[in-house]
Amino acid sequence: MSLRSRVALSSMVATIAGVVLLGVTLLALVERGQRDDLDEVLQQQGVVVGEPGAFLRLIEGNRPPRELRGFRQDLFVGTRLVIADGLIFESVDYPAIPLPVGVGFSMESTDGEQWRVLTTEPPRRLTNGEPVLLQMTASMAGVESTLAGLRRLLFGLGAFTVGAAGLGGWLLGTVAIRPLAGLRREAERVSETVDLSVRVPVDQGPSEVDELAQSLNMMLERIEEGATQTQAALDASRGFAGNVAHELRTPLTSMQTNLEVLAANPELPVEERNAIVGDVMAQQHRLLDALEALRLLARGELATADLFESTDLGELVDGVVAQTQTRFPEATITLDVRREPPAVQVWPEGLRVLLDNLVRNAVTHGAPVGQENSDDGVATVVVSLDHDDSEWSLAVTDSGPGIASHERERVFGRFIRGSDTQTSGSGLGLVLVAQQADLHGGRVVIDDAPNGGARIAVRAPLDGGAGTSEGSGLSRS
């Protein structure tokens, strides 16, 4: 049912209820008033007839005195005198109602006509001392017709009022839903144009409609936001897939070429053959590194809060440093625990990835260059662990040339390698670091170490950033 019909119908129902209540009350009041009037007439008649003269005249003359025709000319009022043996007198045209049995008011009816009856016992008795009952009656016809007229009037007025109310409700409903119709048109426009940036006007109608419009706008905003994010994610992954394909194709192509050379030339000199095999192995390593980094990135993206556990950070860092040291025996990696943090809430595996990449990065890029007297090509790496009241911090310092300030943002991009880097890393190491820092609600800062090398520091809250990091990509499960 439309809103308009509802408004019209409900106003009609309310009006009907009002009219009926009013009518019934009014009719009851009028009926009571009319009857009270009749009763008064009957009582006066009783008083008049009960007077000694009138009484005698009634009995002796056997006809009603003139004044007994009633006080009201429009009203028939009859009188009867009754003794124990029966009727002794009744006025002309007295209706055929039963003889009285007691005193007081009653209602009687004959042939569809209603009669109001009053029976009294006047003080005057017959000469032999026998008591007399005086019965008086008046027709209710006048009352009935008054009430019928009133009923007709009320019904007519009521019907008119109800109709008017219905019409009024309908018109009012039409006016009320006009802003809604406007809102509907705006909403339809959004779905037709698929333009999520459209907003519906919010100051056009009554406050209820404006609130609806605001809700609609909020919903549109959410949807637009979601769509934008999805689009961005799609763009990123398209670009990323392209990058991955390129990153994998390059070493594969070079491997293919090298293997083809080997296959076609069984008689290659040993040095040349060894060089080619070494090359193939290096390319294969690069492929594996890239794949592993991609796997870890994907894992980081799928990380959930239940991976976080209370962890002894000093223990974890010590283990990673020891393992990296065995992997790069030529580098010097030292651990400097300034203040050992209390047990912190972290994802241990993710944090190992973070630290491993930082240290690996420092070892591969952190060797001093162009200094005649230094241990050329050997990196000196210092891992320091510290904390304050709210955050732990992990810094890795190397002995290399540092990272130029204009490159500090760029190195966090996927497959980006430092511009003056000769070594071929996967280009994903610092991406992993940034991802893990973000997961832990922390941040990465690159600056210069006192010796000119690069210093990459990660600071994150002790409680794992649960609920505190807005930018965290972590889906809390």
Binding site: E292, R295, G319, V321, L335
Partner: protein
């Protein structure tokens, strides 16, 4: 030696590589076949893949150890099976390597495990007691207080070495050499992993920490 992997390409490559190194190699293409092979021929050392369709490496290890079979087992796994690898070591495997691995390193580790397996059988009978810890090398039983700990062989060996040297800090490479027989540097956190297991079993009743980490140096057992 027994090589277990469900991928024929890996089996072929490993067989070739190990033969060149002078091992007598047999292979099994699944967990069930591996168990049968161990029963029939009792290999001296096993390379066991974790992820196999019929019966995985963890179950194979558990079954073998439950049957009292103490052949040294090196599990190999892809890197995204960390939890399985951990489960395999807990089930009693001796070492793990991550695919892809360098063959020379796997060979070196297997040789060391073989040597170690020969030496380990003759434990000396002297009971070691440090604080509330008791290690009995002859019966291969370890107790903390009154509680007997169920240790795998490698856990027991590690605890024994640490307990014999109580108060002395042992570096990871020293532990690798004395417990696993690796007298060469390896890129692995196997010591850390086993120290983790040991600590868990030592502290299960809420006892204070026995095995301490000394940053940048190694581990020490100190009551």
């Amino acid at each position: 030696m027994l090589v277990v992997d469900d991928d024929p390409a890996i089996i072929t490559a490993l067989e070739r590589g190990f033969r060149v190194e002078g091992f007598a190699v047999r292979s099994a293409s699944g967990g069930v076949a591996a168990l049968r092979e161990v029963e029939l021929r009792s290999p001296d050392v096993m390379v066991l893949d974790i992820n196999m369709p019929d019966l995985d490496g963890v179950s194979v290890t558990r079954t073998l150890r439950a049957n009292g079979e103490d052949v040294p087992i090196c599990v190999v796994s892809a890197n995204d099976e960390v939890s399985h690898r951990v489960a395999a070591l807990e089930a009693g495997a001796d070492d793990y390597m991550v695919k892809p691995f360098a063959l020379p390193e796997l060979v070196a580790r297997l040789r060391a495990l073989l040597r170690r397996a020969g030496a380990a059988s003759k434990g000396d009978g002297e009971v070691i007691e440090v604080g509330d810890l008791m290690v009995d090398p002859a019966r291969r039983v370890a107790r903390r207080g009154k509680r007997e700990m169920g240790l795998t062989r490698r856990e027991f060996d590690l605890l024994e070495v640490l307990a014999r040297n109580d108060g002395i800090v042992l570096s990871r490479s020293q532990l690798l050499e004395r417990v696993w027989g690796y007298d060469f540097e390896i890129d692995s956190n196997v010591v850390d992993v086993f120290v983790g297991y040991l600590r868990r079993k030592l502290e299960v009743g809420g006892e204070p920490r026995l095995i301490q980490t000394v940053h940048g140096v190694g581990f020490v057992l100190r009551p």
